[in-house]
């Protein structure tokens, strides 16, 4: 027989005005298993809490029900008090007779009857309750950063500076990401590489950071505090430990006309290459698809000229397993292209712009490379088709963005600002040139942003035309841009020498595949989903994984850096303790009855359920059952409602507790 104490609160007059608290307390005392009941003016006050503590001791209570306000208000208070009195906090519950009763009903008789009912079924709940202990999970104080762009770099440096180990994995041969490609940055027009490259070097030199470039995530196991991550280091064909970065191999490589992705295909590189001179690490990689040695077996010049003997044609991919406690995903974005898309694709290209077949229609990143001092034109604005300096440049915003008919409805956020920047850069470099901008809205929320935009319009003589472009075609060496000026209400036709499109920011290729490996969710555009749009903007719903930068949605550099530092702060919070404590309201599997249908695994929003093999002493497989990882379980209980045999049970909300409540109604 239980020994439960029931404490009915008056809440001043808030409850007692409409509920006969004395009668509720008296009736509670008559419920089987209730050993003590009383009413008190303010249960939450110190004397009230002491009353509870004293009763637990004096009456040897094994459960407590405080009938008062909403548990959302004071459950923690009373559980703490119960705990102080030696009662397991999860055996102390609250009956909500204020918000759900006295405040919403006027009739004293009805309200009192309802309050008594609430006490009755909550007592049943306490009776069937179990002592629960907080779950502790050990924490490996090492973080994995996926992506070596500005987001990953910022997060890595913050965490490493705090004294924790960091592993950074970058897919490309060098870290730096998109920011390393930019010419100048808004709204200050400072040189991107000047502020970026020192940070890249910091990463390379930081004693707490292990850097894997030209590497990808192969597999992720484990859970918060305890991830095991398998990293595939792709064969670089150059031994990083031997290479001194002298670059002789590159100067001697006979294959010199390979379009360089870093320059958006407009500059050329060799088959053994570093993507750009300031690359970190400054170790070349052999592009095997374009290397004569790999394609025909003849050449090997780079190997011959390499002093330290670092070139290794036999090198294979290697797999490394890293144990980490937290993961920051910072995989960035890619730019939309107007090319024709496969028929089944939800996103369409721009046939009206010629599907990318007109050479002098370029995207914003290509313009960045043209404008960059380290770019293929040495910073001169020269158009791709014939290398002439364009005198009329049309910039088009929202290409692919906010274009529901093309399959993307979101705003890419950075284009208004960078297009304004482009018009300025153009104006600074081609004094007799004219920039036109087709735009829908100028969106410039940010410190100094609108001022910057106004400068482009008012001082730098960019002509802004509010309207869309309907068609572009080549006429002679000009591109005819047909559009509308919706403010004036006329059709506009401009003969441009160069067109720069602000194409949409999209999730990286393979973002969905990485998400599946990590067990995090993503939206229909493959941007990763944060746990809460407002209150948990850097956390994933999967515990221990955090987001930084444009992989979560289009972002500019300041926002990206802020989010990266925020993610780093979250990681450091996690690493501040050796053990992670979690609310014990989690699901447990009864392995005796579980038959391993894994319906629970299918519905679990957290990916907390995995398969577990049960073997006999000889090692023979007896059966496969579900196993809930308490470190990952969020405690929703969807598994239990789904399990046909109820072999998985959510602590704190067991079937026994709920059935007992229903029976008592």
């Amino acid at each position: 027989m239980s020994r439960i104490g029931v404490f009915v609160c008056h809440c001043g007059e808030n409850i007692s005005r409409t509920v006969d608290v004395e009668r509720v307390a008296k009736e509670a005392g008559e419920i089987p298993g209730v050993a003590y009941s009383c009413d008190y003016k303010y249960m939450c006050s110190d004397p009230g809490q002491n009353l509870l503590k004293k009763a637990v001791a004096e009456h040897n209570l094994d459960g407590a029900l405080v009938a008062a306000c909403s548990p959302r208000m004071h459950e923690k208070t009373f559980r703490k008090a119960a705990s102080a009195a030696g009662l397991n906090p999860y055996l102390c519950e609250m009956g909500n007779i204020r918000e759900h009763c006295s405040w919403v009903h006027e009739d004293r008789e009805e309200a009192t009857a309802k309050a008594s009912d609430i006490v009755k079924f909550m007592v049943e709940r306490v009776k069937k309750g179990k002592s629960l202990a907080p779950i502790t999970v050990p924490v490996t104080k090492k973080a994995l950063i996926i992506g070596g762009g500005i987001a990953g770099i910022q997060a890595a440096l913050d965490i490493a500076d705090a004294g924790h180990q960091v592993v950074m994995v970058e897919r490309e041969p060098s870290i730096g990401g998109h920011m390393a490609q930019l010419s100048e940055t808004f709204p200050t027009l400072d040189c991107s590489q000047c502020i970026m490259t020192p940070k890249m070097v910091d990463v390379a030199n930081h004693p707490n950071i292990t850097l894997y470039t030209y590497a990808e995530i192969e597999k992720v196991d484990g859970y918060i505090g305890n991830f095991q991550v398998t990293v595939r280091k792709k064969a670089r064909s150059v031994d990083e430990s031997k290479c001194t970065g002298c670059g002789v191999c590159m100067t001697k490589c006979p294959k010199k006309k390979i379009p360089n992705d870093f320059d958006q295909g407009h500059g050329m590189r060799t088959a053994i290459y570093v993507p750009f001179p300031q690359a970190v690490p400054n170790t070349p990689v052999i592009d095997r698809q374009n290397c004569t040695m790999f394609q025909s077996g003849k050449c090997g010049v780079c190997q011959k000229v390499c002093g330290p003997g670092a070139v290794d044609f036999e090198q294979q991919d290697t797999l490394t397993v890293e144990s980490v406690g937290a993961i920051v995903v910072a995989t960035g974005f890619k730019l939309y292209s107007i090319e024709r898309k496969p028929e089944e694709s939800a996103i369409q290209g721009y046939g009206e712009f010629g599907y990318g077949t007109i050479p002098d229609i370029i995207d914003g990143m290509t313009f960045e490379r043209l404008a960059s001092a380290s770019g293929p034109t040495g910073g001169r604005i020269l158009r791709p088709s014939d290398g002439k300096e364009p005198k009329q440049v049309v910039f088009i915003q929202c290409v692919g963005s906010r274009a529901r008919e093309k399959g993307i409805s979101y705003c890419s956020k950075v284009c208004c600002m960078y297009t304004a920047k482009h018009t300025m850069l153009y104006h600074h470099k081609v004094h007799d040139g004219q920039a036109y901008v087709f735009y829908m809205d100028a969106r410039t929320p940010g410190k100094g942003y609108d001022e910057f935009w106004r400068r482009a319009v008012e001082e730098e003589e960019a002509v802004y035309i509010r309207g869309m472009v309907s068609r572009m075609y080549q006429r002679g060496d000009k591109i005819v841009v047909m559009g509308s000026d919706t403010l004036v209400g006329v059709q506009v036709e401009i003969e441009a020498d160069l067109v720069v499109m602000a194409t949409a920011v999209q999730a990286q290729d393979g973002a969905d595949l990485l998400a599946q490996k990590l067990g995090i969710s993503y939206d229909k555009y493959n941007f990763y989903s944060e746990a809460h749009a407002k209150l948990k903007p850097v956390e994933c719903a999967t515990a221990g994984i955090y987001l930084a930068g444009a992989c979560q949605g289009p972002k500019d550099i300041p926002d990206t850096v802020s989010q990266a530092s925020a993610a780093a702060a979250k990681v450091m919070t996690l690493f501040a303790k050796d053990q992670l404590e979690r609310d014990p309201v989690v699901a447990k599997v009864n392995e005796k009855y579980c038959v391993g249908c894994l319906a629970c695994k299918k519905v679990c929003p957290y990916g907390a359920v995995e398969e577990r093999e049960i073997r006999d002493r000889q090692g023979n497989l007896v059966k496969v059952v579900a196993n809930v990882n308490p470190g990952v379980c969020g405690g929703c209980g969807t598994c239990q409602a789904t399990c046909p045999s109820k072999s998985v049970e959510l602590d704190g909300y067991t079937d026994e507790q709920i059935m007992a409540m229903i029976e008592s109604l």
Binding site: C594, K602, V624
Partner: protein, 314 residues
């Protein structure tokens, strides 16, 4: 079963069809066993009384010569891979004879990790239909003797088997009695439907044959046997019976393959498959889900879409 069926008797299915299927099964079973591609074949053997068949497990080529297929092969053999003969699969790969409806159960069991695709070899049957429970089997398979489920079968020619045997004879168009009965019940008022089911469930003696024969009732502890807490009253009283059948139908929703074995074995002739059919209809309409002969990763009630129907929610 039904006066209408008695009247419009159609010509029986030509016995040579069954012989051809039987021969094909034997040939394949002998081949599989003698090549040791499988350790056993789960199939049908002749029953002691003529014209009957019983499920059987054969392990030698000689025994395989006894395998048959006839309209009396009513059982859903997928059951023999999990509950009744759980050890079978541990010895090695097993071949199994499966009609279309049985194959859907097998696919379901694979989706629920109870059977691994690589552990079994499915010999599918292009099935013309089987006898109904308590039907007169003397005249072969005819409209009078065919099972109600077979009248509106959509998997005569199952897909996704390792081998498909038999060539379907021309099948007569039969009135869909079960669909008609469903439509009749749907057209009733809630009170009338309640009265119908009340009478049906009142008959239940809780022998649980429906559970025992169901390929999907493979739980080691059934909810109805659980007593802490007791979710379902276990004695055969109307209240508990009703709850049992509702819970059973709910647990099968989105999983049931429509073999209607539950209905066949019910000693009290409760039309249990109507419940299963009704749930299947609902899931088809709401989520465009149909039980498939090909294993699915998730069922309709273990996945969702953000834009699922919610017209019933305020």
């Amino acid at each position: 079963m039904n006066a209408k069926a008695e009247k419009i008797r159609v010509a029986s299915i030509d016995p040579s069809y069954y012989q051809a299927v039987t021969d094909a099964i034997r040939t394949e079973a002998v081949k599989l066993l003698s090549e040791e591609a499988v350790v056993a074949v789960v199939g049908y053997l002749p029953g002691r009384r003529t014209g009957t068949a019983v499920p059987g497990l054969v392990t030698t080529p000689e025994q395989a010569q006894q395998l048959i297929f006839s309209p009396a092969c009513v059982n859903n053999l997928s059951l023999y891979l999990t509950k009744a003969k759980k050890g079978v699969l541990k010895k090695g790969k097993v071949a199994i004879i499966a009609k279309g409806c049985d194959l859907r159960a097998l696919a379901g069991l694979m989706g629920e990790s109870q059977v691994k695709k690589e552990d079994i070899y499915t010999i599918g049957i292009a099935c013309a239909g089987v006898f109904g429970a308590d039907s007169n089997r003397s005249g072969g398979l005819s409209e009078a003797s065919i099972a109600r489920k077979c009248r509106e079968c959509t998997v005569h020619q199952p897909e996704g088997t390792d081998l498909l045997v038999g060539t379907l004879p021309e099948l007569p168009q039969l009135t869909p009695l079960e669909a008609e009965e469903l439509a009749r019940l749907e057209a009733l008022s809630p009170e009338e439907r309640w009265a119908f089911w009340k009478e049906q469930f009142a008959k239940c003696i809780r022998c649980l044959a429906c559970r025992q024969v169901c390929p999907f009732c493979y739980c080691e502890q059934c909810l109805c046997d659980k007593n802490r807490p007791q979710a379902l009253e276990s004695s055969p009283r109307p209240a508990g019976n009703t709850a049992w059948h509702i819970v059973r139908a709910m647990h099968l929703a989105g999983r049931c393959g429509g073999c209607a074995e539950c209905e066949r074995v019910c000693p009290m002739d409760i039309p249990l498959n109507l419940l299963n059919r009704r749930m299947a209809m609902e899931l088809k309409e709401l989520y465009d889900y149909e039980a498939s002969t090909v294993p699915q990763e998730k069922g309709p009630l273990t996945r969702y879409q953000e834009d699922d129907d919610q017209s019933f929610i305020k």
